[in-house]
Symmetry: C2
Subunit: 416 residues, 2 copies
């Protein structure tokens, strides 16, 4: 049995114990929060090793920044734990119930998923955040973080496992794979005997590798090639504000705007105004030939390739296309979108409703920024990611999305 | 582009049209029902080819029986269509909704999954039944039936597609793969660009092949290695009745009983009585050494192998093990069960509740036959299968389990 198989087996034992853990899960989350703060210096020291290695390896400043932990960030992880502890426990909730004519009482009850695998990239805070949500929902978790953060992740995992033990829970509720080779991640994807679901968190490359290789159920998260369609009847100032916010308020996140479609009738007025506003943040535009005719002479305006329309830039870059009508906008989105979030900016009621009905994405908007697609904003509490698939969970995934259900049937001798 | 890729592409177009089909789906289902009856003779003639081929190939009588269509069975397919038409439409239902402080209106709305692939084995009625449920839930379906029923399936599919066309719906809402080679099924499992979910319906061999090879989300259905635990405090007559019903009322279905666990304190009384009742149906018992000490001398009682406890017999065979206590029963189920349906027969309240909480299967029972795990019995209407996985759907899968959801957000210029 390999190390990872053994971890799967241990996780299954821990998951069985969590089925009846009840409020002990909250005790554990609060204990972990305190332990993270008490051991902040050890975690920060371990993190310094990762930062030094990252600088030697020539990581970009923005990656180094995501990697960095300090007292404040460790405190934020601890407070995240406490917030999750304070959320209502989804496990044990009765979803529905009835008594059949033969007297059988059937209730549909929320239960944990079991064992969750999470594969993620550079940010060490995910180690704590993901563990908190999985534990609260009654699941054992196997974490496989990126090599850039391995020392930080190990330090955080040790603190969490020790804290579990002090409150009498099985430390294997939270396990970290220390081997950050590609092989360890492939092995985790094949652990069908033990894993109930695998959640990759990261860029398109990671998600695709998991979808192609996993032998266990996967929930795809986080790739957001989000679109805005500026309809002919759009309020132009509203369009400018929404596009500017969706593109520039935080370009590195999955709910940021990547492509703008503009109705041909409003393009001559809209494109120059939107361009002008985006210039405040030096946004580069990659535009179709029709848009190029209108704003082609401007600085930072280039002709787009087809590939650009498929790309999640996560940067100050926006793809732009002029379309004939709503149908062409919807067709474009159906072809190029990752199914995350899309918005129509319009004053036309019929077009708004058509867009909401026909665009097949996790979140569809009228007249608002795509940046709202977020568990916190939607009132679901902390989220483990944003699902862009249609099975099990779609959109922000909170605690409820980390559970399953079962039918509980009470009888007194009924036979069929 | 291969034939199957082209079918995927066509299905995606049809699925987009179904998003706004509304009540036309019911018109289509009723038209298909009438067309099936009108063309019953052509379907029965095609079926005769399959039966002749099956007899030549030496299929067992029970397989030939499952394969056979007659006027009555075609009428049953048609009536199944009408029943599905009469069910409430799950699509468009508002699951929840709220208005945020910033004025954004968020509703969570039920939508179709999109394109569903179904891989199934010998029974031609699945072609009609599965198509009906997928269509009603707004999905395009690609059917890949077994080679034994290919002529019947083709005849049924032609009738359904023609009927779709007469009511103005895209016939590609229902497509049948006519190539029944292993290759076609592997290709369907890899159609990640077009399929939203793949549902295998069949034996453990098919399910495992799909789980190992699929690049698309899968819902595992139908493998039921179901357990009954006769606790020390069981009402013995109730135990006899439930075991007899669960094992013998229809041994070929997935909710039939396959293994009985008996508490050691009641085994000396229970085993002879249960054995005696099962003899009415000539059930063979494969028993552990401790059970063999009690009823080992009887006819049709053999020693069980470990493999027997993993086996879904689907026949008049029952594996039997004497256990020390509830914990050992729960451990046995955790190790050997497929997670379908399990029952405890007991008069002990605490043990009943422990069993319900700690046994991790789709349906857990106290004092009733496992045979009730069924969409119809549970009041969910027709079902497409019984899911034994924990993601998306668990237990009987009706119309609602063939849908997804999306967030619809209406604003008036909100930015974040």
């Amino acid at each position: 049995m390999t190390i990872i198989e053994q971890m799967g087996k241990n996780a299954k034992v821990a998951a069985a114990q969590l089925l009846t853990a009840g409020a002990a899960k909250n005790t554990a989350l609060n204990a972990i929060a305190n332990a993270l703060e008490d051991n902040a210096q050890a975690i920060i020291d371990a993190n310094a090793l990762d930062i030094a290695a990252g600088q030697t390896a020539g990581l970009t400043q923005s990656l180094i920044d995501r990697l960095t932990l300090n007292t404040e960030r460790v405190k934020a992880m601890a407070n995240g734990m406490r917030e999750v502890a304070a959320l209502p426990d989804p496990v044990g909730t009765t979803i529905s119930g009835s008594v059949l004519q033969n007297g059988l009482q059937i209730t549909k009850v929320r239960v944990p998923l079991g064992v969750i695998g999470i594969i993620y990239e550079a940010r060490p805070n995910v180690t704590a955040d993901a563990a908190a949500l999985c534990l609260k929902a009654g699941n054992a978790v196997i974490l496989r973080g990126g090599k850039e953060a391995i020392n930080s992740n190990k330090a955080i995992a040790v603190v969490m496992r020790n804290a579990l033990q002090t409150v009498g829970l099985n430390p294997d509720c939270i396990q970290l794979i220390e081997d950050t080779s590609r092989q360890s991640s492939t092995e985790l994807m094949g652990l069908s005997e033990y894993l109930d679901v695998l959640i990759p968190r990261g860029g398109a490359g990671l998600i695709n590798a998991v979808v192609q290789n996993a032998k266990v159920p996967v929930i795809e998260t986080g790739v957001g090639n989000c679109h805005a369609f500026v309809d002919a009847s759009a309020d132009l100032q509203m369009a400018v504000d929404i596009i500017f916010n969706a593109k520039t308020s935080r370009p590195s996140v999955c709910n940021a705007l990547e492509t703008m479609l503009v109705h041909k009738n409003i393009a001559p007025q809209a494109l120059p105004q939107i361009y002008k506003k985006l210039k405040d943040k030096a946004v580069e535009l990659r535009v179709c030939p029709r848009a190029f005719e209108i704003i082609g002479g401007e600085q930072d305006v280039k002709l787009a390739t087809d590939e650009d329309f498929y790309t999640e830039f996560l940067d100050y870059i926006l793809a732009v296309r002029v379309v004939d009508d709503l149908d062409q906008a919807i067709e474009h989105i159906a072809k190029y979108s990752s199914g995350h979030s899309e918005v129509i900016i319009t004053q036309d009621y019929k077009n708004a409703e058509q867009f909401l009905q026909r665009v097949d994405s996790a979140a569809v908007y009228v007249n608002a920024s795509t940046r709202f697609t977020d568990g916190g904003e939607f009132g679901m509490g902390a989220e483990i990611g944003i699902s862009t698939q249609k099975l099990h969970a779609r959109g922000p995934m909170g605690l409820e999305q980390l559970t399953s259900m079962k039918f509980v049937v009470r009888g007194n001798g009924q036979v069929r």
